[in-house]
C-alpha cells in the first residue's frame, strides 16, 4: 500500500504593526508580525503542525526578521 505523506507550510499573520521601511526591498509597507507553521500531512490531511519561525515579515519581498519567543510575545501584546 502506498502511503502519501508530506509537509505543507503556511504563514499566520498575528498583527499589523504600522508602516515601516523594509531594509531588504526599501519599500514602505506594513510591518507584519507573523508565524510560519509547517503541517505534516497524511493523504493530504494535516495531522499535526509546528512553528518553524516567528518574526516580522515584509509583505512586499517576504523577508523575515526572526524574533525570539519573548520578543514575539511582547510585540503581539503591545
Amino acid at each position: 500500500m502506498v502511503i502519501v505523506y508530506g509537509t505543507r507550510n503556511n504563514i499566520k499573520i498575528k498583527k499589523n504593526l504600522g508602516v515601516n521601511i523594509c531594509p531588504n526591498c526599501g519599500m514602505t509597507t506594513e510591518k507584519v508580525l507573523a508565524a510560519e507553521k509547517q503541517q505534516f500531512t497524511l493523504f493530504y490531511i494535516p495531522i499535526f503542525s509546528h512553528t518553524l519561525r516567528k518574526g516580522l515579515i515584509c509583505p512586499n519581498c517576504g523577508m523575515y526578521k526572526t524574533l525570539t519567543n519573548a520578543e514575539f510575545k511582547e510585540m503581539s501584546m503591545n
Partner: protein
Amino acid sequence: MITAKKSKAWIVLIVLGVFFLLLGILVGDEALGVMMVLAIVCLVIGLIVMAVSSKNYKKKSAWIAEANADGTIDRINNSISNGSATYFKSLKLALTSTELVENSNTPFIIKYEDIANVYRSNIREGKYDYTYQYIRIDLKNGQTVYVATVTRARVPAEFGNAIGTIKSHLNAEGGF
C-alpha cells in the same frame, strides 16, 4: 557563456528503458511484466524530455540569432571570456558593465539604466513562495521581472554576490 545547449538527460532515460526491456526478456516470467512497465515509463519520459529539450534548444538558438544580429551576444560572450563581465553559473545569469542577461530557456536582456530597484524576494506575483527565492527586479516602466530562481533551503553564495554586483552597477549609473 550565452549559448543554446542540448540537454542529454533523455539519452540516460532511453538507455535505462532499453536496459529494463532487455532485463525483462532475459529474466522472463514474473519479472517480465514489472520490467516492461519500468521500460515503457522510462522510454515515454525519455521521449517527452527529448521533445521538450529539442524545442527549448530551437527556441533559444532563434533568440540568440536574433539578439546577435547587431553582435550583442558575441560582445557579451567576449566580456565573459576576458573577465569584464561575470557569469553566475548556478543562477544562469550574466552581468556585464551595462546589462543583465538571463541565460535560461527563456532568455532576456535588461539594461541597468531601465532598473528602478533590485532585491531578494520570497514573494512571486503576490504569492509567498515556501520553496524558492528569487532576485526581483522592478523596472522603471512598472514591470517586475524575476531572475535567478534558487531553492530557499540551499541558496548559493553566488545569489548574494549577484545582487551586490547588480546594485553596484546601479550605483555606478547614479540612479539608485
